[in-house]
Amino acid sequence: MNFMASKQPENSLLGPEADSQRTLYPNVTGTSVVALKYKDGILMAADMGGSYGSTLRYKNVERMKAIGKHSLLGASGEISDFQEILRYLDDLILYDNMWDDGNSLGPKEVHNYLTRLMYNRRNKFNPLWNSLVLGGIKNGEKYLGTVSMIGVNFEDDHVATGFGNHLARPILRQEWHENLSFEDGVRLLEKCMRVLLYRDRSAINKLQIAKITEEGMTISQPYSLKTYWEFSAFENPTQGAVGSW
């Protein structure tokens, strides 16, 4: 199946030709994902941008997908690797359904499967270049976790990837509380996404918010946030900076 006729064995880490066999850097990337637990389940937000380096090239990328009946996966990082992960999860859920025995993989199981996947790829120096957010609810128990491209994983009441960790988490730490209503949850997520839109240059003003509850997953139509650019700090931003214009 290897048309490149490379002489390197599949698992070799040495030699320049071998590098074409493993991931070195991402190409088309998505930016932050932010998610939180609320009264009925999980709310997750992500914009629809796919950047090609510093170019905001693709503006209709869905970075959140439902997994099985109980889980919701959001991803930042390399979009093609996200699609590959969706394929793996497709198989996983398919085989789980084929048992047809009343047992099903819940969000905790999917999260741990993804952790194993990401960590094992990291160990082969060929990572899936993503930061993943996995949320869901099963039998009344809410679950929200994250996995990075090097296999770091943990659960929390609210999680974010990339810039979201620096800009959104502090807001969530101040304002998140148990049993948020749906409206409050959405308002809180929008507050986070607005800050990201102002400050993250890879963010675009077209986002979706997904929710997952016992009833299932729904994802909003894409929409934009209202922004305000008349802050005095945005006028003459370089005033006082020596050497700027």
Partner: protein, 275 residues
């Protein structure tokens, strides 16, 4: 069951559509000492008769913990049982490692059955000579399964396998309707009574039997001898007279037996292969 020209290897069908080698493997299960299992909605109790070969030796281990939520009792070739228990433990631990969640017992049982089936369809293998009573929990509650050498498996409310298991089965058939809602302690009591039936007159004491419990909120564990003896005494289960088992010491059938039994296997004329 008489010797015939279709029983030399497992890959030969008889004209009547039987695989004799598989049926002979099921005979091995019947020669092993008894094992019983019964379940309620939330708990399962496994019990077995532990007869040592001689006064000098210890008895064979017939109940194995597979995971916190799954245990198995075996009857037949205990060596085969040990190997299959190791397989089950491996499957459970691999699943736990990947998903951080316990392997549903229903899925383990299917994997075990598929493994047994392979041995009924390879000319260079022989069927496992052990029957397994698998007790475990999954999302829908407590389950008890029986896996036999043919590769079939069945779910039971209560079941008994091994020699003189018919006596236990008769007892269980009388009582099983109460099991679903029985308390954990009542279930253990019924298990001990069922074992007593298989001893047929011999004194029931904790050195002769092993009891294990698993349930919702109660990890699988084998009850220690003192507890079992206490329960035997408390329920006054021990029969008054104990005319020693008058079974003529018949050696078991042609196949080499790791567990020589005193009782002769009940000759069942019907094809023993489960439907």
């Amino acid at each position: 069951m008489f010797r015939n020209q279709y029983d030399t290897d497992v890959t030969t069908w008889s004209p009547a559509g039987r695989l004799f080698q598989v049926e002979y493997a099921m005979e091995a299960v019947k020669q092993g000492s008894a094992a019983i299992g019964l379940r309620s909605k939330t708990h399962i109790v496994l019990g077995c008769v532990n007869k040592a070969n001689s006064e000098l030796s210890s008895h064979q281990k017939k109940i194995f913990k597979v995971d916190d939520h799954i245990g198995v009792a075996i009857a037949g070739l205990t060596a085969d049982g040990r190997v299959l228990s190791r397989y089950m433990r491996n499957e459970c631990i691999n699943y736990s490692f990947t998903y951080e969640s316990p392997l549903p017992v229903g899925r383990l049982v299917v994997q075990l059955a598929d493994k047994a089936q392979v041995c009924t369809q390879r000319s260079w293998k022989r069927p496992y000579g052990v029957g397994l009573l698998v007790a475990g929990l999954d999302e829908s509650g407590a389950h008890l399964y029986y896996n036999c050498p043919s590769g079939n498996y069945f779910e039971y409310q209560a079941f008994a396998i091994g020699s003189r298991s018919q006596a236990a089965k008769t007892y269980l058939e009388r009582k099983f309707e109460n099991f679903t809602d029985a308390s954990r302690d009542d279930l253990v009591k019924d298990a001990i009574m069922a074992i007593r039936e298989t001893l047929q007159g011999e004194t029931l004491k904790s050195s002769v039997c092993t009891i294990a419990v698993v349930g919702v909120g109660e990890p699988f564990h084998i009850l220690d001898q003192a507890t079992v003896q206490q329960m035997i005494d408390a329920f006054e289960i021990v029969g008054e007279q104990e005319a020693p088992d008058a079974a003529a010491g018949q050696e078991a059938s042609a196949e080499p037996e790791p567990e020589p039994e005193q009782g002769a296997a009940a000759g069942e004329g019907v094809a023993p292969m489960d439907i």
